[in-house]
């Protein structure tokens, strides 16, 4: 029972990953600051995500932020929850739903930023392989598509989808494919190992989920190819940042999970206090993605560490 | 007039064994045909073919003159053929009534008429000589009682042709008598019965005709007049067995096995004490369910003792694990050889050396292959175990040969005290004789031998002393001179001498 306690807010992720650890720290930091109760839940799959949202509504959460796994098909659950409490989406949007607004990056754009990094790393073109946890979720699809479209110099079209089974190329870049690991790290590393075997002339490996770049680095290290194959990452795992400093990773695109968590809670609290000024006109609060290269890595990492209280 | 049942030229091969070679057989209405043969002769196989459990490789089955071929048990039942299996086959999770009617439950629209089933089951059970509540769980019954349930189950089929494959192997005198009454009734109502048994006394009593198999071949028939112990033995074994029960006059020495104040889980209120001397053979008699097996198992330590002391050669043997009993020189040949006696998937050699393996091992626990092979050779010869080639799984061997493997396993460790629970259950005359000789030889060498048996003849002939159990109690003790069928029966049913 929570009757006479203060307001409580919840953040529902789209899975369990270290990316969300950072968001959790952000949300909890906001909770401490505001003196409110904050819960971060990490479901496995849509079924569990639905159940968690339902249970949170029943529990009487005063505001919920979620990162929907399959936004197009989760409209109902989101609407139901939105009818009961303040609801925003973070990290991944559900534009067709009644969510109040979306807070996060445009994953397609972030993907294109990542693509730019690949172009920088491989100015003369070459073979590129994409590694990702899984492809089903919306942000993954868009992020990957952004990378591909940027490399192939295609127009901006976030709705495009190239099946993972196809080899895509233009005169410079050959995208060999997209390998998923379903969050199994051993698999993730093996995917890179086998790619190195099959394509000794691999130019660049792109790791799109937070744990992918570190696995790519592990694999390169054990193959003695560190520095020979370019690596472009996504998100800010410690190993990735260290890799940038060491010169083994060309760069990474960081979202701002800490901000996702922190600002979600702050905004939900404001809404709960009746302050509607926080609602953006266009329904989108952009927490822009950034490219981190060797020159910016150190400062970024120091800042991150201080935020996480390390 | 053609016979009710006629088998012609039945053939059956298993891998490595030609189990049936062109066997002919026939039975008439109201006739009791005894089917005899040594262990592994092919009796059970023939009957399984007849009951639709297995299919013949060749030959013809005629029921009432009509050629039939049973592809399943259901078809055989349909044709009026029922089989009481040699090994128990009951669903232990169900109650007695459900087992009696298994596969033929009285029902309406698929819904079981439980009340009717229990009522009728009660009647059949009574006929089979078992007066228990039909809603008793089968798992709570002793082996002998389970065999009676099997009998009731077969009776309830109302078969025209009823096959009994060693129905009395776990039954004692009283229950056997009741079965014979049933057989007489069935006979009178025109049922044809095929009766398989290794107790030749019974055969003499009930059979109208005898057919003998040897090594999968039919060796001949005996008609009512020709049936005698000697003639049957000669036909089965191919020679006379002299001195079927070896006579004994060894010296009896000091007590080797002493049991005092023993209480078991089956009868927690009763306590027992007895002792057995070196060179002595003690028989333990009693009705089915009297607690004999339970007593041996508690002495040996496979079952927990509630109280009591067991000493071997004066040394206390703690209960709770057979390993200690073995270390003290005890051996137990269990009643249920398939479950407790043998590792069915393993070969003869592996089974024979199971107990001695650790003793003979190299330092560091490595197995000594030479010792294993020696045990296999020695015991194989001593017990005259017949196999269908090296490496044959014991589960595939005939019942008698399996029993020899179990006994051989224990003899290999050269025990001081040998406990045997129904050692000749399902064993043919030849092998029985060999087992008797073995028991005798052990006693001769100053070992203590205790055996539980439901075969009255055997108990009377082989024991120096008979202990009779009744409902978990030692009801009395008979010396060789006092021993008689009447005396044993009196004590077993709770009476006094």
């Amino acid at each position: 029972g929570k009757k006479d306690e203060g307001p409580s807010y919840a953040f529902v992720t789209n899975g369990v990953a270290s990316f969300w650890d950072i968001a959790k720290s952000g949300a909890e930091a906001a909770g401490q600051e505001l003196g409110v109760d904050v819960t971060v839940l990490m479901p496995n799959g849509v079924v569990e995500q639905k159940q968690m949202i339902e249970d949170l509504v029943i529990r009487g959460a005063d505001g919920i932020a979620i990162s929907p796994i399959d936004p197009d098909n989760q409209t109902e659950v989101i609407n139901e929850a939105a009818a009961a409490t303040n609801l925003i989406t973070a990290d991944s949007d559900a534009p067709k739903s009644d969510r109040m607004f979306y807070l996060g990056v445009d994953n397609y754009e972030a993907g294109r930023m990542c693509g730019q990094l690949v172009k920088e790393a491989l100015p003369d073109g070459g073979k590129v392989m994409i590694f990702i946890g899984r492809l089903e979720q919306d942000n993954a699809k868009r992020r990957r598509q952004g990378v591909i479209d940027e490399l192939l110099d295609r127009s901006m079209d976030p709705t495009r989808f190239d099946p993972p089974a196809e080899v895509l190329k233009n005169d410079k870049y050959e995208i060999l494919g997209t390998l998923t690991d379903q969050f199994d790290r051993v698999r993730g590393k093996q995917n890179m190992d086998d790619t190195l075997t099959a394509h000794p002339d691999l130019g660049c490996a792109v790791g799109l989920f937070v744990f992918n770049p570190p696995l790519i680095l592990e694999s390169l290290k054990s193959a003695g190819k560190l520095g020979q194959v370019k690596v472009v990452g996504f998100d800010e795992a410690d190993e990735t940042l260290q890799g940038i400093l060491d010169g083994h990773v060309h760069g990474t695109v960081v979202q701002n999970p800490f901000e996702y968590g922190k600002r979600s809670i702050e905004i939900l609290h404001a809404l709960n206090q009746g302050d509607t000024s926080v609602v953006p006109e266009d329904g989108f609060i952009n927490v822009p993605a950034r490219q981190i290269r060797k020159d910016t890595a150190e400062a970024f990492w120091a800042d991150l560490k201080s935020k996480l209280g390390e | 007039m053609s016979a009710l049942l006629e088998l012609r030229g039945i053939e059956k091969r298993f891998s490595g064994v030609h189990a049936l070679k062109a066997v002919d057989l026939h039975v008439d209405e109201g006739e009791v045909l005894a089917l005899l043969g040594e262990n592994g002769a092919g009796k059970s196989t023939l009957m399984k073919i007849l009951a639709g459990v297995q299919r013949a490789d060749g030959g013809e089955i005629r029921v009432g003159g009509e050629v039939r071929s049973f592809r399943s048990v259901a078809e055989a039942l349909e044709a009026g053929v029922a089989l009481i299996h040699q090994e128990l086959n009951l669903a232990e999770n169900l109650d007695v009534a459900a087992n009696v009617f298994l596969g033929r439950e009285p029902s309406r629209w698929g819904v079981i008429d439980a009340a009717r089933m229990h009522r009728e089951a009660g009647t059949w059970l009574k006929k089979a000589g078992l007066e228990i509540d039909p809603s008793t769980a089968v798992s709570e019954l002793s082996i002998g009682r389970r065999q009676q349930v099997e009998i009731a189950k077969a009776l309830a089929v109302n078969a025209r042709i009823l096959i009994m494959d060693e129905p009395t192997s776990s039954l004692s005198e009283t229950e056997t008598r009741k079965l014979f009454d049933v057989i007489r009734d069935l006979k009178a109502s025109g049922v044809a019965i095929i009766y398989i048994s290794h107790r030749l006394g019974e055969v003499q009593e009930v059979a109208d005709r005898v057919t003998v198999l040897r090594d999968g071949e039919k060796v001949g028939d005996l008609d009512k007049e020709g049936i005698s112990h000697e003639s049957m033995v000669r036909m089965m074994v191919g020679r006379d067995l002299d001195a079927f029960f070896p006579r004994r006059q060894g010296e009896v020495g000091e007590p080797v096995l002493e049991v005092d104040g023993l209480r078991t889980l089956a009868f927690p209120a009763e306590s027992m004490g007895f002792s057995v001397r070196a060179g002595e053979i003690v028989g333990i008699a009693g009705l089915v369910g009297a607690g004999r097996s339970e007593m041996l198992q508690a002495v040996f330590g496979v079952d927990r003792r509630l109280a009591g002391e067991v000493r071997v050669g004066g040394r206390l043997v703690r209960g709770g694990s057979p390993a200690e009993a073995i270390a003290a020189g005890m051996a137990l040949v269990p009643e249920d050889r398939k479950r407790d006696g043998l590792v069915l998937e393993m070969g003869v050699g592996e089974n024979l050396s199971l107990v001695t393996l650790a003793r003979d091992a190299f330092p560091g626990g490595f197995r000594r292959g030479s010792a294993e092979r020696q045990v296999e050779k020695e015991m194989g010869e001593a017990m005259r175990i017949k196999t269908a080639g090296a490496g044959q799984a014991v589960g595939r061997m005939s019942g008698g040969n399996q029993q020899k493997v179990v006994i051989g396993k224990w003899l290999a460790m050269d025990p001081e005290v040998l406990l045997l629970d129904e050692p000749t259950r399902g064993v043919d005359v030849g092998a029985k004789h060999e087992i008797y000789v073995l028991m005798e030889a052990l006693a001769e060498r100053g070992k203590a031998v205790v055996f539980v048996s439901s075969d009255m003849v055997e108990v009377l002939a082989m024991s120096d002393r008979i202990l009779v159990m009744h409902e978990g109690r030692l009801g009395g003790e008979l010396s060789r001179e006092q021993a008689s069928e009447e005396a044993v029966m009196a004590l077993a049913t709770g009476g006094k001498l």
Binding site: M42, V46, V47, I58, V77, R134, E136 | V53, N93, L94
Partner: protein
């Protein structure tokens, strides 16, 4: 019955704890959702208990859930098939899968664990390959079909159903085992009253979703089948001793095959209802681990993996227990949500240990009298 009583007691205890710990546990909305979840998942558990009764196991349930759960939106939305055709084809395929398992297990004598483990790998693998591993869903279409999972029954109708079920349970308990009659009747009535109370208290918006109603029907049929019919009896017998059943003239192979078909079909039904409820499915994880939940529920509900023992009511209560625990954790201690599995594991373990200890004590008492 005895075993069912044990899990029922644990369940009641957990529910009481839930009522004490959370003031929204008994709210109409929560009960409604709980019943929905119990409905969805118990269907799987009942399916697997048929197989468990035969002494087998089915590890492919989660993948069959995935097959139907992903196949439905894929065929309807992406391939544009009609609802009728899609359902027919899906359930034919699922039936064939069950039949295939049964055939491999009975005719080729392969081990159920191995056969269905391969099933687990193959069906999900195929779905992933065929659908190209993409997210599938209904968007905002097929609303009428989705009513199958989302529609509600009025409380009055529910009460009727409940009454019938309770009566059935009571009668069954009475017929089956007199010693436990009292306990069963008492606890069924208590459970009934609890639900009734909850309903009356907040009758306002309360409604029972169809999956729970479907579960009631499935459970009722399964209970009758297993406990009262000849085939159920035969299933129990063959689960204990295949030989004993075969030697009694029972067509054991056919029965085993039927039970695998039933299990697959119920898994398919569960998958159908779950995807209709959730509206979206990802081939790579939809239904993941559901077989383990289903098996766990069956086991705490009184089925023995050695075969020959089954109890439909117990299985439903077992699954209800799991669902209430999950619900409770999110309601009361969401911070420790990642301990959820540990809690469920511990409760299951305590349940089976308690059961065993209880059985031993009873045995001892019986022996001493």
């Amino acid at each position: 019955m005895k075993k069912t009583l044990g899990v029922l007691m644990v369940f009641v205890a957990v529910c009481l704890a839930a009522i004490g710990l959370s003031d929204v546990f008994l709210s109409a909305g929560n009960i409604e959702r709980l019943l929905l979840r119990i409905g969805l998942f118990s269907i799987l558990a009942i399916g697997v208990s048929f197989v468990i009764v035969t002494g087998g196991i089915d590890l492919s349930i989660g993948s069959v859930v995935c097959l139907v759960g992903c196949g439905l939106p894929w065929l309807l939305v992406e391939q544009g098939w009609s609802v009728g055709l899609t359902l027919t084809v899906l359930f034919l395929v699922v039936g064939l899968i069950g039949w295939g398992h049964g055939m491999l297990i009975t005719k080729l004598k392969l081990q159920p664990f191995v056969v269905t483990l391969c099933g687990l790998l193959v069906y999900r693998g195929l779905v992933r390959g065929v659908t190209g591993d993409r997210s599938l869903g209904f968007g905002s279409e097929y609303e009428s079909l989705r009513q199958l999972a989302q529609g509600e029954l009025a409380p009055s109708l529910l009460l009727g159903v409940l009454a019938v079920v309770l009566a059935g349970v009571a009668v069954y308990g009475w017929m089956k085992e007199r010693r436990f009659r009292a306990g069963v009747v008492a606890s069924s009535v208590a459970a009934g009253l609890a639900v009734l109370g909850a309903v009356l208290l907040r009758q306002s918006e309360f409604g029972v979703k169809f999956p729970f109603v479907i579960l009631m029907v499935v459970a009722g049929l399964a209970g009758v089948f297993l406990n009262l019919t000849v085939w159920g009896r035969h299933l129990l017998a063959l689960g204990n001793s295949e030989e004993a059943a075969r030697f009694s003239g029972i067509a054991t192979d056919r029965l085993v095959i039927v039970s695998y078909i039933l299990c697959a079909l119920l898994a398919g039904l569960g998958g159908l209802l779950i995807v209709l409820d959730v509206g979206s499915a990802q081939p790579s994880d939809f239904g993941n681990f559901y077989e383990l939940y289903a098996i766990a529920a069956a086991v705490i509900g009184g089925c023995s993996l050695r075969g020959g023992q089954g109890a439909v009511i117990g299985v439903v209560v077992g699954m209800a227990l799991i669902q209430v625990i999950r619900n409770l954790i999110v309601l009361v201690i969401p911070k420790y949500q990642n301990l959820e599995f540990a809690v469920i594991g511990v409760v299951i373990l305590l349940g089976v240990i308690g059961d065993e200890v209880f059985k031993r004590l009873a045995e001892k008492r019986r022996r001493l009298t």
